[in-house]
């Protein structure tokens, strides 16, 4: 019995050795075994889905059955770009909101990132990392929801303002609320790339600038900013792209007219899939342009 077990484990080990040797002799076999399943899964599920969406945007939807009709046309895009419809305006407003949020986040993130990279000691720096990363990872929906309570008529903001002797604000359910909440939820995405960029600025450059007689403002404008700018652009990719595709924030904190691209896509996804797919191509197109510009500005090296 004991011998039997030994022989069995022996042959098992033999088989294992043979397999391991086969992989060793033919590394490409190992490569295929490792790479093909994940890539195939991704191509089948994700790349094919993107392709289907692109194709759907050239199809149309039967108005009665809500079934998709596979006839090729540019009808969906005609609807979007027709000046009589609101869609172009919605797209422009979304791009405008995304730009405003990006600029706000860059302004808020820069001092913090600079402080972390150049002034904070190692312990304070890792504490700040945790303080920035935990909000980034904690529930995005909950963070948006929290702002609806903060901004509400009887919420903490008005309570503080009244305490200071100031009148109520009526920010809840407006575009301003959307702007605040977007800037809030995406802020950490801007902080981290700027931090990385500031950290890479050699101290000797700043010393050289000071030696040559530049004051703080001049050093900032002529040395720090040009070197950190690609980092800001890198962060802006996230803030811009995430705002462009969000529909939860307008839904929860926006007003009646605060519709962005995402809302239109979501509202139509069940009833008019072809149109929803076509309108979803708008952020894809905008992002393609944005990424091209970002690449020119050196953002990819700064990521």
């Amino acid at each position: 019995m004991a011998i039997d077990v030994q022989r069995q484990t022996g042959s098992l080990r033999g088989a294992r050795l043979r397999i391991s040797a086969a992989f060793w002799r033919r590394p490409w076999l190992k490569l295929l075994a490792l790479i093909v399943p994940p890539v195939a899964a991704f191509v089948i599920v994700y790349a094919a889905s993107l392709a289907t969406m692109l194709a759907s945007s050239f199809w149309s939807t039967d108005a009665f059955t809500a079934e998709i009709v596979h006839t090729w046309s540019l009808d969906q895009f005609r609807t979007i770009f027709n000046r009589d419809n609101a869609y172009l305006g919605i797209a422009l407003r979304t791009v405008w909101m995304a730009s405003a949020v990006t600029v706000t986040d860059a302004i808020l993130a820069f001092p913090l990132a600079y402080f972390m990279a150049r002034l904070a000691g190692p312990r304070l720096r890792s504490l700040l990392f945790v303080l920035i990363l935990l909000p980034l990872w904690s529930s995005y929906l909950v963070r948006i929801y929290s702002w609806t309570t903060i901004l509400s008529k009887t919420g903490p903001l008005n309570w503080v303002l009244n305490g200071l002797g100031l009148p109520d604000t009526h920010l809840a359910y407006t575009d301003w609320a959307m702007w605040i909440v977007f800037s809030y939820v995406w802020l950490p995405f801007m902080i981290l790339p700027i931090y990385t960029a500031v950290e890479r600025v050699p101290t000797s450059y700043l010393e050289a600038s000071a030696d040559l007689g530049a004051r703080g403002a001049r050093t900032f404008r002529s040395v720090v900013l040009p070197l950190v700018f690609p980092g800001i652009v890198a962060g802006s990719i996230f803030t811009f792209s995430l705002t462009l595709g969000d529909y939860i924030t307008p839904l929860l904190v926006g007003g009646p007219g605060s519709i962005l691209i995402g809302n239109v896509v979501f509202e139509n996804s069940a009833s008019n899939l072809a149109f929803a797919a076509a309108f979803a191509m708008v952020p894809v197109g905008v992002m393609a342009v944005y990424l091209t510009i970002a690449r020119r500005l050196g953002a990819f090296e700064a990521l």
Binding site: S49, M53, L112, F115, I132, S139, L141, G245, G262, A280
Partner: protein
């Protein structure tokens, strides 16, 4: 370099921004203990009552259970696919190697509605009904990248001579994996897995496009839209914060090196282009 005034100004700005980041989390945590049905500030009476109400609510329970199942399955898929790809990309040089990282990154870098809408059109085209499995597929596509990044980062820090030494000492491929590679990687896998779970547990946008069922975030969203059961939503919100923050905290520790960006979504990109 920086003058004293600049330093102080920067420190003040930093403090203000950190406070700005944390106030909403603190507020929602406090509201979870609010006795009143009406959300108004300041909170006058405190209670744990809503925790028990939420816990015994059948809808909340089924949503929580669905979220947990989806999170676990998506994490397993992400762990398997992500670490396979990481091994392949780390060990070999081949055509298209760079584009693989980019491919995995796309679902998280592109806006959620694009991933959601794409999957939605594909499911509709293929005639697939939306079930729990379609949510899992959706979540797995954007979870792969966090596992992949964690494993690649760990492999980069691992010396290849350890594997050679193991082979020289007569270990076969399996033994080398079991006794050398696995102990080196296990914490990176746990870290990646926890992050993937946190990501899935919290996801709304892709879920709304692929959902056959109500996950916890969808339950929150539906109730928020109708302004219903807000005390229960507060409790769930508080719990969800804890349930996403704790795994991130742990994985931050596990990913080691202490340098925070290992777990940041933004740094998911950072790791790619090095």
């Amino acid at each position: 370099m920086e003058t004293r005034g600049t330093r102080i100004a920067l420190a003040v700005c930093t403090t203000l921004v950190v406070v700005f980041l944390w106030i909403p989390l603190v507020i929602i945590a406090l509201y979870a203990f609010n006795e009143s049905q009406i959300q108004s500030w300041p909170i006058t009476n405190w209670t744990l009552h809503w925790f028990s109400v939420a816990w015994h609510d059948p809808q909340v329970r089924s949503a929580l259970w669905l979220s947990i199942r989806v999170g676990l399955f998506a994490t397993v898929v992400a762990l398997v696919l992500g670490s396979m790809a990481a091994f392949g990309v780390h060990r070999f040089r081949f055509f298209g190697r760079e584009s693989i990282s980019l491919l995995f990154l796309l679902p998280i870098a592109l806006p959620g509605i694009i991933t959601g809408m794409a999957l939605n059109s594909a499911f509709s085209f293929a005639g697939v009904h939306l079930t729990m499995w379609t949510i899992i597929i959706g979540h797995a596509t954007f979870c792969v990248v966090v596992v992949y990044n964690n494993v690649v980062a760990r492999l980069r820090r691992t010396s290849p001579s350890l594997l050679e030494a193991s082979m020289d000492l007569g270990a076969d491929g399996w033994q080398t994996f079991r006794f050398v590679t696995w102990p080196l990687l296990s914490t990176a896998l746990v870290a990646g897995g926890l992050l993937a779970f946190a990501l899935s547990f919290d996801e709304v946008i892709v879920t709304t496009f692929t959902a056959g069922g109500t996950t916890l975030p969808i339950y929150i969203l539906n109730n928020l839209r109708q302004g219903q059961q807000l005390p229960i939503v507060n409790v769930i919100a508080f719990t969800v914060i804890l349930l996403t923050v704790v795994p991130v905290w742990v994985s931050q520790r596990l990913a080691s090196g202490g340098e925070g960006p290992a777990v940041s979504r933004a740094a998911a990109v950072t790791a790619q282009t090095e």
